[in-house]
């Protein structure tokens, strides 16, 4: 075994122990659902910063964005405006959601939708959307882990990467079960620190070896332009609309995912979330430079059969063995942290909204903790099966579609925080139209993220996530007006103005 492999395993073993110890962090025991699923709603600014950073900027992102830059050029940089815009948006609505969630004991967005619209059907579809969108996302974390494991030099040690994937999965499931949200919160400290060290080292070493950024961009451009399907390091006029709508649609979707909601609700107060909207963009800087590593891989003349290997190969190419061990451990932890939070978020949706096992939200019975724990294991197992049984390409397509699905809860959830004007039946209709439109456009384009419209001789491309949301909003508005014309009752609203203040 090389020194890198040894360091890799020592680091991974270390954070696994940390994951189990996390159960005892600050409290003697994890005894209630709020403790297990939301860390007792007691994380301060610093813990939340590490947790949300570790949760939102996943290993898959760190692998997939440079892979996209390596494969498709400038378009990959949409992730930068995307993660820039997510914060002003979240600053606006998430503190309001935290306040009402704390007051009324909500653990999911669907809990709020149920009370706001008095509609069990709407609650169910909001919860189902979250679960559907999160399963492939967890599967991709496991696949990202496997990508790295293939590169750690395990083949030299005659051990199949899948054996380690199984080991990783079992440990992840065990400490999530025992420690709940405290485990990823604690591991996030180590993971984020290692990621920052890795990226700073990469930026210090790689560009100067490749003759500086000007030279990197020139070489990357000539490689991209000479491919059979040519692309460019500069965004082309035909891509403007897709780029902007992809950024906006993704920004609207980011904080609707169950793992984002779970991460935010674990904050000690609403100001922790507001402060973090100003502090989390530090991770976006990291993300921008990681995306540029895709161009470095092009300039370094690295030839790949699987674009996802762009960053791992670049590290192997430029770093000493021991440091690739550190970098790969950081990426694997980058998969473990979100996978744990995602499974907790999905378990909450299942338990609270789909099975309806804890209806009396302010006095939750102790049995609910056992149910949620068991469900987290089920969710992780389902994702593991997706990761192992189906082709990675399918998981990627499914996850892409997941983004266009999750944004369909925006009208009921985010607009619902501010206005009760949209009728619950209209929101259901909008959701149906949005989900169908997203799915149809994705299948029609062979799982592209953009859809091309042609009207009056003009062709315009726009992001599917954005178009499907527009269809949803228009439907919800029109049906609301129709129902009002027929004087249909708007249903009950269990929340009061005081709950939001």
């Amino acid at each position: 075994m090389s020194s890198g492999t040894v360091i890799f395993f020592v680091l991974i073993a270390g954070v696994t122990v940390l994951g189990f110890l996390a159960a005892r962090w600050r409290r003697a025991a994890v005894a209630s659902l709020d403790e297990w699923a939301l860390g007792g709603r007691n994380f301060g600014t610093v813990v939340s910063w590490f947790l949300l950073g570790g949760d939102l900027y996943t290993a898959y992102t760190f692998i997939a964005l440079p892979a996209l830059a390596y494969g498709a050029g400038a378009l990959a940089f949409f992730a930068v405006p995307y993660t820039t815009l997510a914060y002003p948006l979240t600053f606006f609505f998430m503190a309001r959601f935290w306040t009402i969630a704390k007051r009324r004991g909500y653990v999911t967005a669907a809990d709020f939708v149920h009370d706001r619209y008095g509609s069990r059907a709407l609650e169910l579809v909001i919860a189902l959307t979250g679960v559907l969108a999160i399963l492939p996302y967890i599967a991709l974390q496991l696949i990202g882990m496997q990508t790295v494991l293939e590169d750690v030099g395990l083949s030299a040690a005659h051990i199949a990467p899948v054996a380690f994937l199984i080991a990783g999965f079992v440990l992840l499931a065990a400490y999530t079960f025992i420690s709940g949200l405290r485990a990823p919160a604690m591991i996030a400290f180590v993971k984020d620190t290692l990621i920052y060290i890795t990226v700073i080292a990469a930026l210090a070493v790689i560009p100067s070896h490749l003759g500086g950024w000007a030279h990197i961009f020139a070489s990357a451009q000539s490689v991209l332009a000479s491919r059979p399907k040519a692309s460019s390091t500069m965004l082309l006029p035909g891509q403007y609309a897709s780029y902007a709508t992809l950024a906006l649609g993704s920004a609207m979707a980011l904080f609707l995912y169950p793992h984002s909601v779970t991460g935010c609700l674990s904050a000690r107060n609403a100001n922790v979330i507001r402060r973090n909207c100003a502090l989390l963009p530090l991770y976006s800087l990291l993300l921008a430079f990681i995306t540029l590593l895709g161009f470095c891989a092009l300039a370094a003349g690295i030839k790949l059969t699987n674009n996802n290997q762009a960053v791992p190969e670049l590290f192997v190419h430029f770093f000493p063995s021991w440091f690739t061990g550190v970098a790969f451990a950081a990426i694997v932890m980058g998969a473990l942290v979100p996978a744990a939070v995602m499974s907790i978020g999905a378990a909450n949706l299942f338990a609270s909204n789909i099975l309806q096992s804890f209806r009396a939200r302010r006095e939750r019975p102790s049995s609910e903790l056992g149910i949620a724990r068991g469900l987290a294991l089920c969710v992780l197992t389902a994702s593991f099966i997706i990761a192992v049984a189906i082709k990675p390409l399918f998981a990627i397509n499914f996850q892409l579609l997941g983004g266009a699905w999750i944004v369909q809860i925006f009208p009921a959830f985010v607009l619902g925080l501010y206005t009760r004007r949209l009728h619950p039946v209209a929101l259901l209709a909008g959701w149906c139209v949005g989900m169908s439109a997203a799915t149809w456009m994705a299948v029609w384009t062979g799982f592209s993220s953009v859809f091309q419209f042609s009207a009056a001789g003009h062709k315009i491309s726009a992001a599917i996530v954005f178009c499907a949301l527009l269809a949803n909003l228009v439907t919800a508005a029109v049906v609301t007006l129709l129902l009002a014309a027929f004087k249909t009752g708007a249903g009950r609203d269990l929340t009061t103005a005081a709950d939001y203040a």
Binding site: G212, W213, H215, L248, L292
Partner: protein, 64 residues
Amino acid sequence: MSKRSSYWLLLLPFAATLVPPLYARARPPLFGLPFFYWYQILQIVVSAVIVSIVYALTQEPDRE
């Protein structure tokens, strides 16, 4: 500026990043990075500063 109206500042990052023709060009480069790239990286920082300003203008005491 009143508390409520300072929230309008949050729209500035959207205006700065959602119109690619404004910044999809190579010149002037910075440290070898084409304008397209360094402009958007700069916007991450500018947007974080705007959010901080709105936070300061709308701040309320911590409530647990």
